[in-house]
């Protein structure tokens, strides 16, 4: 017998999410992810001065604001030609890396861990400690993490004016040239953050965590909140929960003169592959959108006001060569070739793998952020003069947000925006079914999740959904 469950409001994700479940024999037989909010940013931008994308698109999302800003700046730079300042690009990477680190931290402490403090887990050896540290909006670790995050974001205050919604990142670089003293201040903020990571999150040097090279070594990590998470993960077998299809996508993160700091590419059937932006399509068969499947450079956003019966989400369904792709920190680290990430992917890429992928990325980003600050040359130019935007042209901006691959496709006609299409990380991960009936990544990962007889909001479903760290406001935009 199949029972149907609707799970919502689905909180501790960014934005609004509704999950529909078919449940049979105590497990999920099929899942549908509904993104229930449509705002229409792609339509708002039509007819505007292309530069206005730098002000408007960051406001798609209050948690990935700098990612949106970086994607818009790169789309404009691509459309106009010219070469951004190397020093400016490095500072844009610093701002972006700080946001991504803060987002991973927010996910771990505020969104993901509080579920283990639920009364349903009373009786597990780790539960009492989980209650003390991770109870939602109360736990000691949560207060400490919120403070560490606020202090880390001082870097964005100093260099970018405020967070979220900075306008500091421009096609040619950044608007504020940091001096000697700014470099010292930002180094101090990073020292403080390292202390938090090493005292509280990892309980050991971050380098020791990045040195882990396989899942066994990871499961042997005992210190800090990471160790607490891993003990819980072992007990509840989070590795087996919510496994993915093993197809990963990354646009490449933090561009530098020698290419991105984390590589671009794909990972399929246990092997790396190239990424071809021309192979992306957005399928509208199960979205409340009108039009045909198209590449985002030719795409369009026309909402179906009638919300037709055979569709169930405002989210379009992006595909790469027709296939669903998972994107995010785990995908980035797998594609970049980190041994631990590849071992986690080989083990099925479930809840444990996604969360550990984020921890790994926090640990890897810290020394990178330090190096970018250390390398600031206070006499350098941080903004290059760029050629004027063409009256007619097109540009693409591909970046990696905390949650994965983010693309902006811009078309300019008569000096105004004639087309602007955005495909966000959670558009990939939380896409609905496509014309072949193939479910999106989270829909597929939920199949088989355990549902207790008395559960109306199954815990396993919550762990799996939150392991993707969905950003629903970005998804539909």
């Amino acid at each position: 017998m199949t029972a149907r469950l609707v799970v919502g409001p689905f909180n501790r994700v960014e934005g609004d999410l509704e999950i529909h479940l078919d449940v049979a024999d105590g497990q999920v037989a099929a899942a549908r992810a509904n993104s229930p909010l449509f705002r229409g940013f792609e339509r708002m931008l039509l007819g505007k001065d292309p530069r206005d994308a730098l002000t408007i698109t960051p406001r798609i999302c209050g948690i990935c604001s700098i990612s949106q800003s970086a994607a818009a700046a790169r789309a404009l730079a691509d459309a106009g030609g010219g070469t951004p300042s190397i020093h400016g690009a490095r500072m844009a990477a610093l701002l972006h890396g700080v946001e991504n680190t803060a987002d991973h931290l927010t996910h771990f402490y505020l969104f993901f861990m509080p579920d283990f403090a639920r009364p349903a887990y009373a009786g597990h050896a780790w539960h009492a400690e989980a209650v003390t540290r991770f109870t939602a909006a109360e736990g000691g670790a949560i207060r400490a993490a919120v403070e560490a995050r606020a202090r880390l974001l001082h870097i964005v205050g100093l260099l970018g004016g405020k967070w979220p919604h900075t306008l500091a990142i421009q096609p040619g670089g950044i608007t504020r040239a940091p001096g000697m003293r700014d470099r010292m201040r930002m180094a101090l903020s990073l020292k403080g953050f390292r202390r938090f990571l090493e005292d509280t999150l990892f309980g050991a040097p971050v380098e020791a965590f990045t040195d882990l090279s396989d899942t066994d070594a990871l499961m042997g990590w005992t210190t800090g909140d990471a160790g607490r998470f891993l003990r819980i993960a072992a007990d509840l077998d989070l590795a087996a929960m919510g496994q993915g299809a093993g197809r990963y996508l990354s646009f490449g993160a933090y561009p530098g003169p020698d290419g991105p700091a984390f590589a671009a590419g794909t990972w399929m059937d246990g092997a790396p592959g190239p990424f071809d932006p021309a192979a992306i399509t957005e399928d509208l068969s199960h979205a409340w959108m009108l039009g045909e499947t198209a590449h985002p450079s030719r795409g369009d956003t026309r909402p179906d006001e009638d919300m037709r019966e055979d569709a169930y989400s405002w989210c379009k369904a992006p595909r790469l060569n027709g296939a669903t792709m998972e994107t995010g920190a785990l995908a980035r680290q797998v594609i970049d070739g980190h041994l631990l990430a590849r071992d986690l992917a080989a083990g099925g890429g479930g809840v444990l793998a996604r969360v550990a992928g984020r921890l790994l990325e926090i640990a890897r980003l810290q020394p990178m952020l330090e190096a970018w600050v250390d390398g600031i040359e206070p006499d350098a130019s941080f903004m290059a003069e760029m050629p004027p935007l063409p009256d007619n042209g097109a540009g693409v901006g591909l970046v990696e947000a905390a949650r994965g691959a983010l693309g902006h496709w811009l078309r300019i006609e008569g000096g105004r925006i004639a087309g602007y299409q955005i495909v966000a990380p959670t558009t990939w991960n939380f896409s609905p079914r496509d014309a072949t009936g193939t479910p999106g990544p989270v829909e597929a990962a939920l199949v088989g999740a355990r549902v207790g007889a008395d559960e109306d909001t199954p815990l396993s479903v919550q762990h799996i959904v939150r392991s993707f760290d969905p950003c629903m406001v970005c998804t539909v935009h």
């Binding site: 609004d16 705002r39 403070e147 405020k162």
Partner: protein, 330 residues
């Protein structure tokens, strides 16, 4: 005091900004003010059925609601149905939930310019038919009518800003919890005057450049951004440069213009955000409370009197010419 926070159609950035509250952190601050979170979508444990049960209990009056915070604009589309945002798990448009909750709440607070006036969500063709809680842009009357008063007697309190400064939100909530916020403490757009009586221009580090109309021509130059780069800090309300953001930041401190994000309809300036519209070479939209002729006269005079230090620095990306030192007396 019980507080319920709903996220309507916005980006969630006002919550993300609120989490940047320091000294103390936002959790300690709410504890200290005696404010109990009934539910917040980003912070609370309750999910799914636990939440719908809670909402039903609040709507039915079983659980008293002292403060309702709404973040994000209210979507009336398509065609007045509100179905562009169904609150997940309920099958009901968010605007219906917000109306119900507003009518049982002692205080109703719009957090951010979207919730206050419609904001960025209503930009361009306003595809989702977004409005604010009690304003539609600068016009009184949004989802709720102009005459709406919450049970506590106040209209919707509009903590405008895109995003809101964490201090604006926490201080407003503390004042409400303490019974210290009256209608006289709100400006004509119902924004708390403790931040809305200031202008972004106040304590802007570019004030000396402004005095001489020594202007930046391109983003990254450190001169005043009013003449060429679209800055409206002399007209925009907010104490951004007095209290600063995320440590010591502000938009103008980071070298980009104030776009008046605390104001209704800031999302449609009718020109590119980073370019000052001009008529016959003269910027339109001068400081709001200064006679134009005086402004022009003073501007041309001060421009002619610009010291070399200020003129040179204005078009550089950092200070090139330091202040001169006084020659010691013999």
């Amino acid at each position: 005091m019980n507080l319920l926070w709903l996220q309507s159609a916005g980006c969630g950035g006002c919550t993300m900004s609120l989490l940047c509250a320091e000294d103390p952190n936002v959790i300690d601050l709410l504890d200290g003010a005696g404010i109990r979170l009934l539910w917040h979508p980003a912070l609370s444990e309750a999910t799914g059925r636990e939440v719908t049960d809670l909402l039903a209990a609040i709507a039915g009056g079983t659980i008293p609601l002292d403060i309702l915070c709404v973040e994000g604009s209210l979507l009336r589309g398509p065609n007045g149905t509100g179905r562009y945002h169904i609150l997940s798990g309920t099958g009901r448009p968010m605007i219906d939930w917000v109306r119900d909750m507003a009518h049982v709440a002692r205080h109703v607070v719009a957090v951010g310019t979207c919730a206050a006036f419609g904001g960025v969500t209503s930009a361009g063709e306003n595809p989702a038919d977004a409005v604010g809680l009690q304003f539609d842009g600068s016009h009184a009357g949004g989802l709720l009518p102009p005459e709406f008063r919450a049970a506590g007697g106040l209209p919707v309190v509009n903590i405008a800003g895109c995003p809101t400064h964490p201090g604006w939100v926490t201080e407003t909530l503390m004042l409400l919890a303490d019974g210290k916020l009256t209608e006289a403490d709100l400006d004509g757009y119902a924004r708390p005057r403790f931040f809305a009586d200031h202008l972004v221009h106040h304590a802007c580090p570019k004030n000396e450049f402004y005095e001489y109309k020594a202007s930046a021509r391109h983003l990254s130059e450190i001169g005043c951004m009013m003449e060429n780069l679209g800055c409206v800090g002399t007209q925009a309300v907010g104490d951004c440069n007095i209290r600063t953001w995320n440590g010591e930041g502000s938009c103008t401190r980071a070298g980009y213009p104030c776009i008046n994000c605390t104001a209704p309809e800031f999302e449609e300036p009718h020109h590119a955000f980073t370019e000052t519209p001009k008529f016959a070479g003269i910027p339109v939209g001068l400081p709001s409370d200064m006679p134009k002729a005086w402004f022009m006269a003073l501007a041309s005079l001060s421009k002619a009197a610009t010291p070399e230090r200020i003129g040179t620095n204005a078009v550089a990306d950092r200070i090139r010419v330091p202040p001169s030192l006084k020659t010691p007396r013999r």
